[in-house]
Amino acid sequence: DAGVTQSPTHLIKTRGQQVTLRCSPKSGHDTVSWYQQALGQGPQFIFQYYEEEERQRGNFPDRFSGHQFPNYSSELNVNALLLGDSALYLCASSLFRGGRYEQYFGPGTRLTVT
């Protein structure tokens, strides 16, 4: 049973560029959440997708957008990259309903903006 997978593992981009990160949820899960973790900080919630719609959103600008596909996988897009976007981006999957509240995290994508 594959867990949550993310690609790529590492990424280096230049200011102003755009980036797309990808996530495949754990088998059987239908909900994907994205988090940004700066060095030395806890993960910060970006947004959550369920049934191909954004259900919840954290305090992130519109430069951050996402998508969920019919197979529940998800993408995180960041436009007009800033130096401050350098962080570990984590994807977590879960079941929207069913009484199981645990979220399963992927290994993350380390984004460096130069």
């Binding site: 949550v4 993960p43 929207f96 979220q103 399963y104």
Partner: protein, 112 residues
């Protein structure tokens, strides 16, 4: 969702000793979860304790919850070098796929 505040921010112990870290929160909860993060990697769910539970065990982990004090503690017994990681608590108000709000965590170092 609400943010949990972990305390202490850093903890250094010797292998074999017990490690205790605490989490405080502000409003009533449905459940509280603890996660572990090894350096630069994804978070791993450790244990969930529901608001009507006072104590829960999982292997070398013991979690307590005091809803009157709005606090929880995570005890790791007989610690190992592999327990070196950051530990985060996540209090959930409703449950379900509620977003997790993390504090800065407790950075535990277990020295061999």
């Amino acid at each position: 969702s609400q943010q949990g505040e972990e305390d202490p921010q850093a903890l250094s112990i010797q292998e074999g000793e017990n490690a205790t870290m605490n989490c405080s929160y502000k409003t009533s909860i449905n459940n509280l979860q603890w996660y572990r993060q090894n350096s630069g990697r994804g978070l791993v769910h450790l244990i969930l304790i529901r608001s009507n539970e006072r104590e829960k065990h999982s292997g070398r982990l013991r979690v307590t919850l005091d809803t009157s004090k709005k606090s929880s503690s995570l005890l790791i017994t007989a610690s190992r070098a592999a327990d070196t990681a950051s530990y985060f608590c996540a209090p959930l108000t409703q449950g379900g796929s509620e977003k997790l709000v993390f504090g800065k965590g407790t950075k535990l170092t277990v020295n061999p």
